[in-house]
């Protein structure tokens, strides 16, 4: 696998993502600056968490129109793997790679804590190393992670197996108590129709080391390496 991380001036988990990818691949990913207009020869692009251009407007709205995102979108349309985490999820959704939108958290507050995620499918290049139905512990850290789409879109996502992860309780149950941001149908991460694009709010890159309190994010990176090497 050859991977690149897109770095915006306000990105702040690009080093965390770099560490997780390096651990999984055995070598460092390429860091791509937001003003670049071409992507290097890679088969995975990760758009990391942070505050892209400050995000004083709707999160990711301006970054979605950056030159590098045009390139990411063009390559994704041809089938290249793209994963957007947190702000990256917001950006690729704003760019139209994924349906729906990320609204302000229902609590109206930033939330940082470990949450439980249920793996909805292992049938993807991002989740093949998980068991379907497996419950993970992974942190979230965001102000705008409240996934919203109209009911028809949500039905389609579910019918097509495009829901990757949902927030859940210890027994895998879905309810308001275990939904940290008010996301529709507890959705934490979704694929595009062809499943070469994944967007998710939680941070698997902060769950790859026992000292971080969880290693449940490792299998996501391992899945990508398995599929793309």
């Amino acid at each position: 696998m050859k991977a690149a991380i897109v770095v915006f001036p306000g990105s702040n988990r690009e080093r965390d993502a770099e560490a997780a990818l390096t651990q999984a691949m055995g070598r460092k990913p390429i860091m791509v600056w937001h003003r670049d207009t071409e992507l290097p020869d890679v088969n995975l692009v990760l758009v990391p968490g942070g505050f892209s251009y400050g995000d004083y407007l709707r999160c990711g709205a301006i970054a979605a129109h950056s030159p590098i995102l045009r390139e990411v979108k063009a390559r994704a349309d041809k089938g290249m793997a793209v994963i957007g985490v947190c702000n990256g999820f917001q950006i690729i959704t704003e760019a139209g790679l994924l349906p729906g939108i990320l609204l302000r958290n229902a609590s109206l507050k930033f939330v940082c804590k470990n949450v439980r995620l249920k793996v909805e499918t292992s049938q993807s290049l991002f989740t093949s190393q998980y068991e379907q139905g497996q419950v993970l512990s992974v942190p979230v850290a965001h102000h705008d992670g409240n996934y919203f789409a109209d009911p028809k879109t949500l039905d389609e996502l579910e019918a097509n197996g495009q829901v990757a992860f949902r927030y859940c309780g210890p027994e895998g149950e879905f309810d308001d108590e275990h939904n940290p941001n008010g996301s529709a149908r507890s959705i934490a991460g979704i694929f595009n129709r062809t499943k070469n694009v994944l967007g998710m709010m939680p941070h698997p890159e902060n769950a790859v080391d026992p000292m971080q309190g969880s290693t449940d994010g490792k299998a996501l990176f391992k899945s990508m390496v398995e599929a793309l090497s």
Binding site: P9, A19, G50, F51, C112, E205, N206, Q212
Partner: protein, 738 residues
């Protein structure tokens, strides 16, 4: 009053916060009447906030040296050597007055300012800590202030990508009209690549980088040096507005430039903005400085020299560069899309010369501006000692465990989860011990498991009752919290929050606290490397509780050896390290259950602190201890309850049979120098014999197990029950109807 043509009348002088005597000194230094711009510069440089004129003579009493101290007080932040060629750089600073007037922006820019202080010296910030003090929970302003301050701290730190990992929140009616927002940043730098602020090289260019200058924050430093009254709301325009995205750019651009060899000196523009940065840099270098204010990037038209010099717009830096490095430096700041302007040169005149529209707006000698700033030996009266309270004279609760449930849900002991879940405490991926424990533990990248531990502490009610004991206790508590996670405490930063120093009783509190702190620092080999003084924390003549907040930093060589507060597993022995006399004076028990803030605070025995702490740290690092928690607010049973709640695991406890202390004083007394530790059953005998050999008092309290806390012969309460009480306070307070 800000036009260059305005007359300098006694009224204008008073509005600038200068006394008649201070103005006489200005006339002597200048040899003529100052221009309005010059007067403004004297005003901010000689403000309490910038000059430390009331506190300086006493701050000298604090020990500031140790073999591992690279830089003590006097720079943007203090620096310590943490081995392996690495340095930790840290400081704490207050943003009290702005946060009361405009809580979101006040707190946000406080966090932004302290991070700038740290990365100015070449360090990447790796953790933020904050110490907050609010008024009574039922004061009508309190909820609004909490909501704004917490959101502001989070808004700035989260965007910067620096984790906020530790802190404290206290409530007391004395803060109703004057909250405290103290922010601390810890950064990491190569020990041989620290950047300082002393200018050098006559003719070298003076470079302004970062955000543009606006009219915000003019006279912020002067405001921070005066008491509050009903009109303080009108001071909103003196509060700065933060832009964390710009600061993120500034951080990355500065660190990128610092990796080259371009910088001679660098100083952030914090309080008193361009004035203090240019004056401090030139004075430390013994040089003059000439600035062309027409070249300063501004975001508003028609700004006068006075306004440009006194603006406290955020996210700006001043640098002296090597002339040959200008192009390289400019390219870096262009990459990050920040202003980069050459605004002047260093001179050999020893004068600060400011030009605007070709006219000289100020021409003043730098050295006397700094060196002749007033220093006051303010009169003070020592605080009267409070009587000792006999524990037997304090009524026992009818139900000890119901009292525990009430205590863990009381404002000062309840869970702060509502607060720290709004802070990104995980970004950077190195947070090993998260908020909610004794100290946060943050692993250092690429350092084979080495980590820094950090905490902030102060018990203002102790300081009020006995400043000397309170000052020593604040230092000792940080030392204890670092020790409890297995770290070796290295140094502190202090944030001295007090009332009006012109009142002798307030000055007495200040002097007492300093002396107690100094004594503790010496006894624990734990010097002060940076700090900040915030005086005039009063509203309508009523001062806050004396609040010398201490931020402590320690190092742990192998982070895997650190232990949390949470019980590890059932069937382990619970032990108390240290001596229990059942001290109830100034305890939370006395206040929450009997409504009394009375008596002498618990005495601080620094020799016992050191002995007990060194013992428990050795045992933690040897791997014997499975969980550890210091005993502080609320006493022993609260500490054990916190360990149980963190683990969702109960315990069975017995009072020592021979104890002469009444049960409620044993469990809720706040005697110092104590830790609760758990060890595996098989290790208990060796642990006890090691303690005996080290002369450390030790009590076996019981063992972990079940899902409830059981006091033998007294009763049982479920851990879940305790947690309901513990977790309810903040959400209930913040969601209450207005």
């Amino acid at each position: 009053m800000t036009t260059a043509t305005a007359k300098i009348t006694p009224n204008v002088i008073a509005e600038h916060g200068l006394t008649a005597e201070e103005y006489q000194l200005v006339l002597e230094i200048m040899g003529r009447e100052p221009t309005m711009t010059e007067l403004g510069i004297f005003s901010v440089m000689w403000s309490e906030h910038c000059s430390y004129k009331s506190s300086r003579v006493h701050l000298k009493k604090l020990p500031t040296k140790a073999p591992w101290v690279i830089q003590g007080p006097g720079e943007n932040a203090g620096v310590i050597d943490i081995g392996d060629g690495q340095a930790a750089i840290f400081k704490m600073e207050s943003h009290n007055h702005p946060s009361f007037i405009e809580p979101y922006q006040g707190a946000a820019t406080g966090v932004g300012g302290i991070m700038r202080d740290v990365f100015t010296m070449g360090a990447r910030p790796i953790a933020n800590v904050n110490a907050l003090r609010f008024g009574a929970p039922d004061d009508p302003k309190t909820r609004h202030l909490i909501a704004g301050v917490v959101a502001g701290i989070g808004g700035y730190g989260n965007c910067m990508g620096v984790p906020t990992v530790a802190g404290e929140v206290n409530f007391h009616a004395s803060y109703n009209g004057n909250i405290l927002v103290n922010a601390m940043t810890v950064g990491l730098a190569p020990a041989d690549k620290i950047f300082y602020s002393a200018a050098a090289g006559v003719g070298n260019p003076v470079i302004y980088v970062g955000a543009k200058t606006g009219r915000d924050g003019i006279h912020g430093a002067t405001m921070a040096s005066a008491e509050f009254n009903e009109d303080s709301e009108e001071k909103r325009p003196t509060v700065q507005v933060g832009d964390p995205f710009t600061e993120k750019l500034l951080l990355e651009a500065c660190l990128e430039l610092m990796a080259t060899d371009a910088i001679v000196a660098i100083q952030d523009m914090g309080a008193a903005g361009l004035t203090s940065s240019s004056v401090e840099m030139s004075s430390k270098g013994g040089l003059g400085i000439e600035l062309d204010l027409d070249k300063v990037p501004v975001r508003e038209t028609g700004m006068t020299a006075y306004e440009i010099m006194l603006s406290e717009s955020q996210e700006r830096m001043l640098m002296i560069l090597k002339p040959e490095a200008m192009d390289k430096a400019r390219a870096i700041f262009e990459k990050w899309e920040l202003d980069f302007a050459e605004i002047g040169r260093l001179t050999d005149t020893g004068h600060l010369v400011l030009k605007k529209n070709g006219k000289v707006e100020a021409d003043m000698p730098v050295a006397p501006l700094v060196e002749k700033s007033p220093v006051y030996q303010r009169p003070y009266v020592p605080t009267k000692p409070q009587p000792e309270i006999d524990p037997a004279s304090v009524p026992a609760p009818s139900d000890l465990l119901a009292a525990l449930r009430a205590l863990v849900g009381s404002p000062d002991l309840a869970s702060r989860r509502w607060v720290w879940e709004q802070y990104d405490h995980l970004v950077m991926g190195q947070t090993v011990q998260r908020p909610g424990g004794d100290a946060a533990v943050v692993r250092l990248p690429d350092a084979n498991g080495k980590a820094l531990a950090m905490t902030s502490d102060c018990t203002p009610r102790y300081c009020f009752a006995d400043p000397r004991t309170g000052g020593a206790q604040a230092v000792a508590e940080t030392w204890r919290n670092l020790t409890a996670v297995g770290a070796t405490p290295l140094a502190i930063t202090d944030n001295m929050n007090f009332g009006n120093p012109q009142r002798p009783e307030i000055m007495g509190q200040f002097v007492g606290c300093i002396e107690g702190m100094a004594e503790a620092c010496r006894a624990l080999d734990y010097p002060v490397i940076s700090g900040n003084v915030s005086l005039y924390n009063e509203t309508n003549g009523k001062g806050i509780l004396p609040t010398p907040v201490i931020g402590g930093v320690g190092v742990i060589a192998d982070v895997a050896k650190s232990v949390p507060v949470a019980f590890r597993q059932p069937g382990e022995v619970i032990l108390l390290v240290g001596e229990t006399k059942g001290h109830l004076g100034q305890s939370i028990y006395l206040r929450e259950l009997h409504g009394r803030e009375a008596g002498a605070p618990p005495p601080v025995d620094l020799a016992a602190e050191k002995r007990n702490g060194d013992f428990i740290r050795t045992q933690i690092l040897a791997g014997t201890v499975t969980a550890c928690h210091d005993c502080s607010d609320g006493g022993l049973l609260v500490a054990i309850a916190e360990m149980a709640m963190a683990a969702n695991l109960g315990a069975t406890l017995r009072m020592p049979a021979q104890s002469a202390v009444p049960a409620h004083a044993f469990w809720f007394g706040e005697d110092q120098a104590r830790y609760v530790a758990t060890v595996a059953m098989g290790d208990a005998d060796r642990f006890l014999s090691d303690a005996r050999k080290a002369g450390v008092p030790m009590t076996v309290l019981g063992e972990t197990g079940s899902n409830a806390l059981t006091l033998v012969d007294t009763g049982t309460i479920s851990v879940a029950d305790l947690k309901v009480s513990h977790e309810a306070f903040f959400p209930d307070l913040m969601s209450a109807g207005s």
